[in-house]
Amino acid sequence: MNIYFGLQTATQQFADVNLWLLMPELIVASAGVLVMLVDAFTKRLDQRWLTGGISLIGLVAAAVSCVWLWTSWTGPTEAFFGMIVLDRLRLSFTLVFLVVSALSVLLSMIWVEWERLPAGEFHALLLFATAGMMLMASGGDLVMIFLGLELLSISTYVMAGFRRTDVRSNEASMKYFILGSFSSAFLLYGTALVYGATAMANGTPGTTNIREIAQRLDTALYPPLLFAGAAMLLIGFGFKVATAPFHVWTPDVYEGAPTPVTAFMAAGPKAAGFASFMRVFLFGFPFVVAAGTAQRLHSAWIAVLVVLAVITMTVGNTAAILQSNVKRMLAYSSIAHAGYVLVGLVAAGAASDLGQRNEAIAAVVFYLLVYSIMTLGAFAVVTILARSGDRRTEIEDYNGIGFDSPWLAFAFSVSLLSLLGVPLTAGFMGKVMVFSAALDQGYVGLVVVAVLNTVVSAYYYLRLIVVMFFRERSGAWNAPLVPASMAIALALTVVGIFYLGIFPGRVIEVFQASPSVISRLLGT
């Protein structure tokens, strides 16, 4: 074979590079590089407003370009020969990531000052991690998804160990690094097996392109390899989004990492993991009617995910009850929420009808948006109350603070109630949408388990509220001052929780809407 095989077609398709489709990612990555340079050339003390400002401007610009792609892009929907795709899944997830990242920047601006950490390095890492998350959502190829994942993970490993004189932070970083690399290895092994399994009888090598994988499932030469590869991919993503039984790293890492970083990790990388999870499993191993390898693979992964969802919800909620540390409790709560999202993923996977599948996908994205906002709100309050060095994170530290700093306690209560899923809050709408999508597919038992779990979770969410308002303060305590940027972040989360809880229609419509791009995707 000619060693230049493939270049001929590459030239013909050269117009398909489509740099415009990569606009949001490019903007965020360039902002990251710019922040790095600003960090190198300015004094440490006055750089945090500068780097934080540049980060926010970059994120807003990326959001604008994302909306522009959504509403007015009329070009092709694939870039870099299928490496980057443009569809609703990608754009809606990208917006979620940008919201998470912007809130994290607001949270961290004063915090870096408290901890005397280099703001520039932190914001640059945050932006690179965001670029990685966006690539995970936009990758149409397993290799691209892996690259995005590594970009995200490496930045997050460093951020977890950012308070480098603190042993807990170091431990968190080390654990996250080792288990993260472990799960990346699973993912990569799965990719390799799927590549091998999709080789064709006529000598065409395998493929890592998700759309082509879906087309080759039934003609796969080695179906067992395909199943093993899919299982490896499932384990890899399971680690990343912290589903039981792959969740054991989560509590330790979330507890040890600095609280703003924990907030970011609980919201961003989890959503990014689900974005890739859905991309690979919904589009790579989709529902098919005809009996064959593809059909067996589909029913196999759906069955596995049902079991995973049940275990994850139950383990997360049961373990959260036993925690005495707020950060650990929220870590287990994040595991439980991963279980609720899995219910939506099962619904999206099982949907035989394209419209129903898109509704389920929109429900999952909506749930992750809601979950990100309420988790960031909760961790923002934890950051403020813990003060420098994360000193006050035990539940006793929250005794009776409700009346001393009512606004903080109010914001925290709203976030917790939303995490619990009380009506009028966003968490309720998220749960309703995800569970109803599962009911549409006939997963009554799964939904019953999920609702029972929600009831169990009431215990530990409400306990914190009770502790804040109805317990006596034992020691002396003075209410912390809330810096302006954190107040903005908190106000945004509270407003977001109520807005999404009372008027969810607009956002859901946007996530479900069929803009020109989507209609063309379905049309062609």
């Binding site: 270049l7 790095m36 050339f41 005397r116 004189t165």
Partner: protein, 153 residues
């Protein structure tokens, strides 16, 4: 029997490579200036005493230099295949010259940003002044964590 004639170029390459290495060492031994200091006479000239406990702490700068080495090593690894196919891809057959050039320049520019960053951050500065600065910062941080521990106790 195997026909070993085909492997002659490989043998020649081995001889040339070995000869090059040996000749370089020999030439510098023969004509290089010799200022022998105790440090230089130690087996490994990294400023570390090779005899003694292996559990010695050494400067984190060694790691930083190793990482920077990897960075520029990778750059070189990417440059070589690019240079190999450049002529063909820039030729009339494909006509991708401008694209290939711009892409590689972008790549190098990004690496250069990294270089500027490590330079400004003082990774390449091993002078006494930089060392004192770093020690002062380490002391400040240690003081902070000590204070934190006392407060926690």
């Amino acid at each position: 029997m195997f026909d070993l004639k085909a492997y002659l170029p490989i043998l020649l390459m081995f001889i040339v490579a070995a000869g090059f290495a040996v000749s370089q060492v020999l030439i510098s031994q023969l004509i290089g200036p010799k200022r022998r200091t105790p440090t230089k006479l130690m087996p490994y000239e990294c400023g570390k005493d090779p005899v003694g406990s292996a559990r010695e702490r050494f400067s984190v700068k060694f790691y930083l230099v190793a990482m920077i080495f990897v960075l520029f090593d990778i750059e070189l690894i990417f440059l070589v295949p690019w240079a190999v196919v450049f002529k063909r891809l820039a030729g009339p057959e494909f006509g991708l010259g401008t694209l290939m050039y711009v892409e590689m320049m972008l790549f190098i520019a990004l690496l250069f940003v990294g270089f500027v960053y490590i330079w400004k951050k003082g990774i390449l500065d091993w002078s006494q002044a930089a060392r004192q600065e770093a020690e002062a910062e380490a002391e400040m941080l240690a003081g902070q964590s000590g204070e934190r521990l006392r407060r926690a106790a």
